[in-house]
Amino acid sequence: MNSGIDLEMSFTQGVQNLGLSHELAHLLWIPLPMLLVLVSAVIGVLVTVWLERKISAAAQQRIGPEYAGALGILQPMADGLKLLVKEDIIPARADSALFTVGPILVLVPVILSWLIVPFGQNLLISNVGIGIFLWIALSSIQPIGLLMSGYSSNNKYSLLGGLRAAAQSISYEIPLALAVLAIVMMSNSLSTVDIVEQQNTAGFLSWNIWRQPVGFIIFWICALAECERLPFDLPEAEEELVAGYQTEYAGMKFALFYLAGYINLVLSALLVSVLYLGGWGFPISIDWFSSLIGLSIDNPLVQIFAASLGIVMTILKAYLLVFLAILLRWTTPRVRIDQLLDLGWKFLLPISLVNLLVTASLKLAFPMTFGG
């Protein structure tokens, strides 16, 4: 495989040519991709919120937001601004320190997880060796923030919501990790870049979804449960718990929960596309395509085309999954808490263990197709 475009290298070299040391150049480089990813995550949220409102409106035969911008596209921006200027209320009997730290603890791990999302060969913040494991570890911090905000609100609905959220995210983390483990076993690496590379040998036929159909479904269900999306939105079930752990929150602190939820949704969709749908890969192999036109793969023009196609493909796949999640949210009823825990522990956990076992034996039996 080719190495693709390496922006970091060209940037540090350019700065070094200006007469700065290598370390300083690296230091100048570090904040740039972080800022870019942060901005794109927030824009991704705005787009998702707009999609959510429009699709929910379509599902209920309404029109949805219409006047703010063309087709109401500025509506999420207006919502965000409203939350930003709202009064920040801390309930009188609440524990103000924990009340403030809670939403931050929910948001920060989600944003940190964007570290490992690749949009191309070198188009990610950091190709850390532990890759996808970092995401699993970081997402396990979130329940603490939820418990913290649920407890500190000094409200029984909040506490119940926080406890439900923590129970739910603990129970669904295990099948999620087992589904990821099967993928990792096939690609012999934890790094997201390697996982995508290994899927992009023969266009869409080599995507992991064909080799791991059960894993794909398990991962998708668990991702929805981790994001607290509607078949599994028990922590904030409004008929039972007012709004769960968010009940007492207002203004920007509420917006942090809102933001964390949607960033997590987009992140999960991106990771499904990375793990199962070939990440930045085009359904037809680029190598084959460039040889058809008669250009070398190392041609700068081909490289730029391939990189932008990679970004578009990643986002397209992710947003198709986001669309599916939104559609699920507005068309399915909520499960009960006992059904939720039954599904997690009695169905998904055994199935994912069997999936892991089958993958391991298939890997031994057919090392060619299952990454020996």
């Binding site: 060796g129 494991f133 699993i136 923590a166 603990i170």
Partner: protein, 200 residues
């Protein structure tokens, strides 16, 4: 002194300060919920120390196991049983505190003495960084296979024990709760508690 070294030093100092002050607060604070949350912070800071040592896999495992599982379970236990009640004043609390702080201080002095008098082999072996995951796997399935399997058996035993404890048969008569014939007054329609039945 270059940039990389000074960043590392600053990170180390900040993390150490967080760990020391955090763990002191875990022990000394009266509010048990604060202690539990701070314990999570201390675990995170320890993970940060592992990261500084280039052991990213160990750091992630630390977060996953200690923050994501152990600390959340502790919090769960506290929040499910957290009843605000006045504890009975314990006799001779002051002398007890003095004795325990004396023991802890002695232990600290002992450890400090050991760490100062030991000849540390500096600098240690170079870190293997990204290869660490593979090396850990290799060791787990070759020379550390027996401890690994023993730990698995221990966990399996704990899991089976938990299932046995949770599956005690409780017989709640549905007609007693539903009471279609309306024979009982409203206050009698109490669901038998789980613990009352399971203790029989």
């Amino acid at each position: 002194m270059n940039i990389a070294y000074s960043t590392e030093l600053i990170c180390f100092l900040v993390l150490s300060a967080v760990i020391v002050s955090g763990s002191l607060a875990v022990v000394l604070l009266e509010n048990i919920v604060y202690s539990a949350f701070l314990l999570g912070g201390v675990f995170l800071a320890v993970a940060g120390l592992y990261l500084l040592l280039n052991a990213s896999f160990v750091a992630a495992a630390q977060i996953l196991v200690y923050v994501g599982a152990v600390n959340v379970l502790i919090l769960f236990a506290i929040m499910l049983v957290n009843k605000k009640e006045k504890l009975k004043p314990i006799e001779g609390l002051k002398t007890r505190k003095i004795i325990s702080s004396g023991v802890c201080g002695g232990l600290l002095i002992l450890l400090l003495r050991v760490s100062i008098s030991t000849k540390w082999n500096l600098p240690g072996p170079p870190s293997i960084g990204e290869e660490a995951t593979e090396r850990i796997g290799e060791h787990l399935f070759t020379d550390y296979l027996l401890p690994f399997e023993l730990a698995s058996i221990l966990l399996l035993m704990a899991m089976i024990g938990a299932i046995v404890l949770a599956r005690r048969d409780i017989s709640i008569q549905t007609d007693y709760i539903n009471d279609f014939r309306n024979t009982k007054s409203l206050s009698d329609k109490k669901t038998p508690l789980l613990s009352e039945n399971s203790l029989k």
